[in-house]
């Protein structure tokens, strides 16, 4: 490089991206593959993995990854409306306790408690958060941070719902296959469902609320109604994860309201990349197996999530998914200034 010459990085779309973006009559199978692969491959892998991992310890890890993936997706969905939650544990705990209590006190079977827990938990969470949807930014986050703690303390103080002991010996799944495919199916449904919702007109309003809520209000849209709807959707996904996990453990206690169920999904989204849902799922499929591999670290795992959060925020704020997506669609080269 000669003295005084400067170079800068330039990013260009790959030819195949330009072709497959604009030309709808696909010319070659290569274009078709280019478009399909990023979607079909993970789906196929997710459907096959339970069979491949059947009977091993990693089957359980896959299940946890799906559970945390669901929580991360629900966080990401709320984030795309501009509602930043620091309390995914609230959704998780509401679903878990709702399903657990129906099963424990009323003896409802699993195929009733899980849907009931999903809807009931989501309704409870929506009812709790609707009074504060007017709050913005940090203030809304503080409420969501406090609520699960408040309920954990209430359960302990009032000794309701099993108090500190929790509800024991809930019904188990008739077969492990049902649990794991429910989790995988729900994850895929939530992932593609949320992406679809945000592409619709409905989603356009949600994104508008995130970008500038006052403009959307000025356009005559009742943003509180939209916020309430999206809280319900996100809470339903979180509560479903809770209800699913309750019957997997056959136990529900105050631990479902703990900080873990808030921090891990959050770390997963930040690591994977917020805003795309795929990033959230990817993040939890990296973090959960990683944390299982580091099980020997015990209590230090929470600290590790914290470090990952800090590192991801500082070094790769766009997230792994967006980075991969960029490399897939574009190439970089140095050009002379």
């Amino acid at each position: 490089m000669a003295e005084g010459e400067k170079y800068r990085k330039e990013r260009l779309d790959r030819g195949i991206k330009a072709r497959s973006d604009t030309i709808y009559v696909l010319a070659s199978s290569r274009d078709l593959l280019y478009l399909l692969m990023p979607r079909a491959l993970p789906v196929a892998l997710l459907i096959l993995l339970p069979i491949l991992l059947h009977g091993t310890y990693w089957e359980k890890v896959l299940f946890y990854s799906c559970i945390f993936g669901l929580l991360a997706l629900s966080w990401d969905f709320m984030n795309s409306v501009g509602l930043v939650s620091l309390g995914q544990a609230l959704f998780f705990g509401a679903g878990a306790y709702f399903a657990g209590a129906l099963n424990h006190y009323l003896g409802w079977p699993i195929f009733l408690t899980i849907p009931a827990g999903t809807i009931g938990g989501a309704l409870i969470c929506t009812a709790l958060l609707v009074p504060v949807v007017r709050l913005r930014g940090v203030y809304f986050s503080i409420v969501t941070l406090i609520l699960p703690l408040l309920f954990a303390h209430l359960i302990e103080t009032l000794e309701i719902l099993g108090g500190t002991h929790g509800l024991l010996s809930l019904s188990a799944y008739p077969s492990g296959w049902i649990a794991i495919y429910l989790a995988v199916g729900a994850l895929l449904l939530a992932l593609f469902g949320f992406r679809k919702i945000l592409d619709e007109d409905f989603g356009m309003i949600l994104r508008g609320i995130r970008d500038d809520d006052r403009v959307v209000m000025a356009a005559g849209v009742n943003i509180y109604w939209y916020k309430a709807q999206s809280i319900f959707l996100a809470a339903a996904v979180g509560s479903f994860a809770g209800a699913l996990m309750t019957h997997y453990y056959q136990f529900v206690g105050r631990s479902v309201l703990a900080l873990d169920y808030t921090i891990l999904p959050l770390a997963a989204v930040v690591l994977g990349g917020p805003g795309s849902f795929a990033g959230a799922a990817l993040g939890s499929f990296i973090l959960v197996p990683l944390s299982e591999a580091l099980r020997a670290m015990g209590g230090l795992r929470m600290a590790l999530y914290g470090l990952i959060l800090i590192g991801a925020l500082a070094a790769l704020p766009e997230g792994i998914f967006h980075y991969l997506q960029r490399r897939y669609h574009q190439f970089e080269r140095m050009v002379k200034v």
């Binding site: 504060v132 709050l135 609520l147 302990e156």
Partner: protein, 288 residues
């Protein structure tokens, strides 16, 4: 009488916990969720200086205040500066810092009755028929002194005035030549240092417990939110409301209700009047 005395001491201890958090948030809008972790870390640092390095108490205390203050300062330049303006990322990052500090300390086992800071003055005095240990009186003294010093600092010194200028209108403040990053870093350093001051005043009353790292943050948040997150009188009012209601609840119901009252107060105040009872600057920013 007991209720009044313990109400006052409890309120002052809450005010001490909250004052650093309120200061940082009020000036730079930086929600320092690592506040409780700094409080805890400061206490443990002093314990280490005192018991393992044999440094005199006063020096150890000053050293830890300075160390944590410096940590806060460099935390701003190293991490928070990159996330400036993204309020949510600031919350997530400081919460992550808090978790790292608290969980590492928990893992190292800094918890329990062997980790006790000695009181500044031993013994207790009788006030109107109630025995109050001297540490509580010292704590009230420190709290009152701190409030007076901070009041004078923000109204009489140049740095304090520049802090308030940034808090009231950042753009105008920049226009008259105040460096917002420098101010924010300084406010984070001061807030962190104040967390340690609070810890040193309060911790001798009991044993060090890592769980406190999260609780202190909640108390600071509660006090700040009740009174208004950026106003000093508000923080004082908030701590008295919360302090007396905690003592009343603990006397007439059970001690476990204290936490429930604190948490419920945060949610209720945020739902009704999010700028707090005395807050005024940020009314339009926080809700639509």
């Amino acid at each position: 009488m007991e209720i009044i005395i313990y109400g006052i001491t409890n309120s002052i201890s809450l005010a001490l916990m909250a004052i650093g958090f309120s200061l940082t948030f009020g000036i730079s809008g930086l929600p320092n969720f690592a506040h409780g972790a700094f409080y805890l870390l400061g206490g443990i640092l002093t314990w280490i200086f005192l018991n393992q390095l044999g440094i005199p108490y006063l020096v150890a205390a000053l050293l830890s205040i300075l160390a944590i203050g410096a940590f806060g300062f460099f935390l701003y330049w190293g991490l928070m500066l990159r996330l400036r303006g993204l309020a949510i990322n600031e919350v997530i990052a400081t919460l992550a810092v808090a978790i790292v500090i608290i969980e590492v300390l928990r893992w190292m086992g800094f918890s329990g009755f062997s980790y006790v800071l000695p009181p500044f003055i031993r013994g207790s005095v009788n006030i109107g028929g109630v025995w109050v240990d001297n540490q509580r009186i010292v704590m009230v003294g420190i709290g009152a002194a701190l409030i007076v010093v901070l009041y004078l600092f923000t109204r009489r010194t140049k740095t304090g005035l520049s802090f308030r200028a940034i808090a009231q209108n950042e753009r105008t403040a920049i226009a008259v030549g105040i460096d917002p990053d420098w101010t924010a870093a300084l406010s984070l350093a001061m807030g962190s240092g104040l967390a340690v001051v609070a810890g040193l005043a309060i911790l001798p009353l009991g044993a060090i417990d890592t769980e406190m790292g999260y609780d202190i943050l909640l108390y600071a948040l509660a006090v700040g939110i009740i009174g208004g997150l950026e106003s000093l009188p508000g923080a004082l009012l908030g701590s008295f409301i919360l302090g007396f209601s905690q003592i009343l609840v603990a006397t007439f119901l059970r001690a476990q209700w204290q936490t429930v009252v604190t948490l419920a107060a945060i949610v209720i105040i945020l739902a009704i009047k999010p700028s707090g009872l005395l807050g005024k600057y940020k009314e339009l920013e926080e809700r639509v």
